[in-house]
Amino acid sequence: MPSDAQLLVARIATGDEEALGELYLLLRPRLRRYLWHQLDGDLQAVEEALQDVFLAVWRTAGAYRGDARVVTWVYQIAHYQALHARRSSRHHHEALAPDSPDGGDTPDETLGTASHEDAVVDRLALADALRRLSSKHREVLDLVFQHGFSLEETAQILDVPLGTVKSRISYARRALQRELRAPTIERAP
């Protein structure tokens, strides 16, 4: 039994602009937050990406297969649009934290130093460290913690295997840990 959002998509597939507007209103707030972080706070790029996302929804609503939630499907589109926008952007801020590899297994040295950390995590410092995280790792944390997606859905959105999602979370943790221990000095843009 289709959900309300699935009905909207079905209506959009018949050319119902009003349904597209409803879906736009429904998803704009969270997509905007998601894209804001993916596009480094570039307001104009965010608005353009939002348009491109819903244009793609308009064009492919008939191909939505109902096997994922509508929101997961739209985020998949948004992920790709953000990727595309970053690649073609002239203002391309690369992450300042070292971009950890996804595969492989490095020895987990962090726990030894973790014992020296304060039990209370400095939220400002953590927020700062998150800001510096590479978009690849930041995105997976955003999707799981902020946007309420399961690991499987996150894997669908990012178009990677489930294991990769898990390892990105793990590497994000290590990258954040390094930042908290010894914050990187921000390079001038």
Partner: protein, 550 residues
Amino acid sequence: MAESACLPFLDRLPLYVAGRLPSSERESLEAHFVSCAECQRELAFWQAVPGALASLDDEIPPDRHAATTWTALQRRLPPRPSVPLRTPRERAYMEIETRTPPRASHRSAPTPIAPRRARRPLLAVAACALIVILSATLFGILGSQSHHPTVAGQGTATSSAQAGCAPSRLRTNLPANASIADLSMASPEDGWAVGQIWDPQHSATPAHTLLMHLQSCVWSPIDSSIPDATLTSISMGSAGDGWAVGMTLKAFTTQNENGTTNYEWDGDQLIVLHYTRGSWQRVSLPGYQSVIDAKVRMLSSTEGWMVLHGGKSHLGPDTIAYAETVLHYSGGAWSIVGHDAATNPSATVSGFAGISSNDVWTVGSQLVGAGNYEYAVLAHYHAGVWTTRTDISGHIASVSFSSPSNGWAVGQMWVDNYKQSLPLILHYDGSQWTSVALPAPVRAANGAFLESVTAVSDSEAWAFGSMGPSGGASGPAVLALHYLNGQWTEVTWPLATIIAPHELVISSATQGFAIGTLALSSTTPKRYMAVPKGVILALNNGSWSVLPGQ
């Protein structure tokens, strides 16, 4: 030095904080915490993450551009519907909602394409929940495909001596809340149909299966109901042998804004029934989960094909693939045939037609460029090898063969750089597919598309679809085309209350059956969805009717 005992728990901490850990694992994790300072520190870290991420969201300026972006987006929308819905069932939802009161008279000459609708202003932010009453039919992706047990060059039922049931005798005893999904004729007077029974007023209770038998010219249910399940397809390979498929249903609940619970019924485990020695028996075909749609077509009692949509492919313990699975029946068993769409989430199989032993065509489409562009796909499996054609922009919904050298495929194609969508018919002559001209003005009907084709013989065929949102003064109109003596002509669709005809089966020289969707009265206000109901249609000497008793 890391406590090796902690490692399994450390990996699960972020999932625990995000609420993604199953309760059984939560308990063992919490039991470990109690005595592990290391993990407690890690937990504190992860517990701070959501707040820290949220504080970063606080930096985002207030949203002031919702309306201007919407206006800019509207200007960029191509004046076309997007890729059309795939199956009659899906379209039925929309056609029921948007159809104005049906007129009894014949559809008038097609109207010119309606002028572009005035751009609507941005809607009020207050969301109004769509209050819907829906059937449990799932998003069927597999389109129609002509069912003809004698496709392998044996000619058609027109060679049969029997004419089938006298039209006046034909009727159904369709139970209340029933909907037919598919039917198959074993002989001119022996047929089977499948579907489900579901009461939308009690949506918390799932559907149960429905199996109907045509006997003495009456379609009646047989006592074979499987609870919490639906049947989506049936095909008789011979009078005494056939297969039916469907899936069990599992509930997914969400809360509506008004506090009520919304029940969605998702396809779960595949159900397979085999008719042999006079009765239907359930057959175990394990390993297919999250099956959203299933379709079966038998060439004979020993040869047939099945396509599953949504069955998860087990490409590895951590890999999800929502995929199309193609199965071949031969030597008394079903086995998987590798297909590109099995591992390609951008590929859709909408229809298929078996030609002969171990020889099948599948049709559908392939999305490229993150779903922005769509190519129609015709794939042929022959001598163990797939060859694929994908050079047409568009989608092919259905394919049907009357013999190995006569096939039809229908759908829609994008023209003018994705600005227009036109109906598409292709013909196969034994070696290649070529596009066939449709009668005017159908060939230029922007937004019209075809969804179902039946090759009756080498010289006759039927195709059905829709004129799309812009066709017909009273809403989406059925597009019906008949092929005879080398030419396709448009046929006025006479059944005002029936939309989305599909699965036409010609069972004798003068008779055939099809499934149609009963379009309910549009006095239901817009946004209130009626339950799309599949009913059995009869074609007698070129004349269409809805069988009484439905």
